[in-house]
Symmetry: C2
DNA sequence: CTGAAAGCGCTAACAC
DNA sequence: GTGTTAGCGCTTTCAG
């Protein structure tokens, strides 16, 4: 590895001069600057960002922690965050917590002292831990609310309202909610919103599950939903909903003739599964952008809370109640 | 931020002792060790990994660069790599190059001096740049071959052989290949393999495109394929194939009655699109694991080349030639 | 077993 | 403008 010392020696200047010639060229006389830069190039010098970070205390890296990197739902967020990070000349570090608070804490232990800020998507960490973390580093939350911490949340309330409104309009009066993981904050929001709306409109909604909020959870959820006698199945998310659709097809149950099915997230595949899924779409790329902006804007202290609007996308999986 | 100095002072020992008590506890007397550890915990001390890395020269971080993080095809690789990295107590840093050599170089500039090793998936960097990079850091390649560098490649030859064999068995004699990006190494491999196999079996194969290897590329590819008079369309990858299926459905062309369609990768969604896609599946999680193992095993110098076996998955999108 | 001191590669006062 | 010097927080000889 060629260091700044090597460059300085070879160029016949002090290290500090070499350093400046590379990072603050305007403060160096043209001839010296040119010589240093030429030598640096010739020697193939690359600044050691680690060393630079020790003194500046900043690495220009941001971390994004997601519960499951294989869930297509997060792709938008990641891409939006990536885009903004790149624009701000930061490097994004991505970590997968597998929805496990232990692994999440692990990752944070490792990355906490390395990155300049952290985006936590659907964090499962206890409130106290989040607060403590936020004391060390700027932190922004996605789909998790905690007083004092800034964040971006999907408008689950409105999403569920739109879903139920749509189903009621189609004549459905008995609805089953296929719930996902009990431990997630957003799961609680979804169910609460749906239950509230059901009460308001006088529709009966049963809460089934929890089921693993993945394709694999589909079979059990579909069977339970069918057995409940509901005419519409509201799945916790698209992954589960698609799994449900597959199971129903396998069992020869026509959708939406016998039951309607809805999802949440509008993931990759929701528009080409069979039948295409009626679901709620959220501007996840925008979420990613906003999260990084808040992190970089230094507003991470101000506890801004942004609620992102959602929109129902009606596709083939919902129809009139039988 | 509480530093090691703070801990040492509070515990009434030298920094070096505090350091050892935390990283080499066995070399410290039990009472001292206990005291230091207790103080560290009480003060909420967290080692600064950056500082640690300056002296050790290692950060315990590995980078994985992929051309497009939103392509579900890479999820397996990422997950496999993550798993191994975690097991080896390393942190994975993920970067998206958008298939742009410039951005890829950018990322490497930023991360090169920070990570202990690099996994490059489908790198678009010139051979010379790759070689130079490999001189600085351990590098392993995925789906790109370069003499002297270790890597893991999908067995494209066998995959294409299986696809064509399957189609020929169904009576297809006129096949169109819907090509993807010209600039990718794997694209070249796929076409070369298909062309060779076509020659061997005396089947006519036209190369159409290139089309953007994404869902969006589907419409143009489908129309061109149909116009070519081929009875089977072999798409460069699943994303494109699914886009093609959607376009065919839109145009009312029955699949596989009028044309058969095949993909490559077996991505999320390939089994629930309509009709389900006949494609080639590769053990991508295994690829991720092997790549990280090679990186960590220090075999990165030995230029090992692992070819991963593939398997044809026949689904509803292929049938007898009309 | 513990402490003092050197130094990782780089940046940033502070002089000249 | 440029060089000298002092660290950043930590690990690691090297003495004691």
């Amino acid at each position: 590895m060629v260091t700044l010392q090597d460059v300085a020696r070879e160029a016949g200047v002090a290290v500090s001069t070499a350093s400046r010639a590379l990072t603050h060229p305007e403060r160096i006389s043209p001839p010296t600057r040119a010589r240093v830069q030429e030598v640096a190039r010739r020697l193939g010098y690359r600044p050691n960002r680690i060393a630079r970070a020790v003194v500046s205390g900043r690495t220009q890296m941001l971390a994004v922690l997601v519960p499951d990197i294989t869930n297509p739902h997060r792709l938008g967020l990641i891409r939006g965050a990536e885009e903004r990070a790149r624009a701000a000349d930061r490097t994004l570090v991505l970590g997968d917590t597998r929805g496990d608070p232990g692994l999440e804490a692990d990752h944070l232990d490792r990355l906490g002292s390395v990155v300049d800020g952290i985006v936590l998507a659907s964090s499962r960490l206890p409130d106290a831990d989040l607060r403590e973390l936020a004391r060390r580093r700027p932190v922004v939350l996605h789909d998790r609310e905690l007083a004092g911490l800034p964040g971006v949340v999907t408008d689950f309330d409105d999403g569920m309202r739109q879903i139920l409104g749509h189903l009621v309009g189609l004549g459905h009066r008995r609805v089953a909610y296929l719930s996902g993981s009990r431990r997630s904050w957003s799961e609680g929001r979804r169910w609460a919103a749906l239950a509230a709306e059901a009460t308001r409109t006088g529709v009966g909604v049963a809460c089934l599950g929890p089921f693993p909020p993945m394709l694999d959870g589909g079979p059990a959820a579909a069977d339970a939903g069918l057995a409940s006698g509901a005419t519409a199945l509201v799945a916790s998310n698209d992954l589960l909903a698609i799994g449900v659709l597959r199971r129903l097809e396998e069992r020869g149950v026509p959708v939406p003739q016998t039951v309607s099915v809805t999802g949440f997230d509008d993931i990759f595949g929701a528009d080409f599964c069979h039948p295409p899924l009626t679901t709620v779409t959220a501007p996840t790329e925008e979420a990613g952008r906003v999260l990084v902006d808040v992190l970089l804007g230094g507003h991470a202290q101000d506890a801004e809370r942004t609620v992102l609007p959602v929109r129902l996308r009606v596709r083939g999986s919902t129809g009139p109640a039988r």
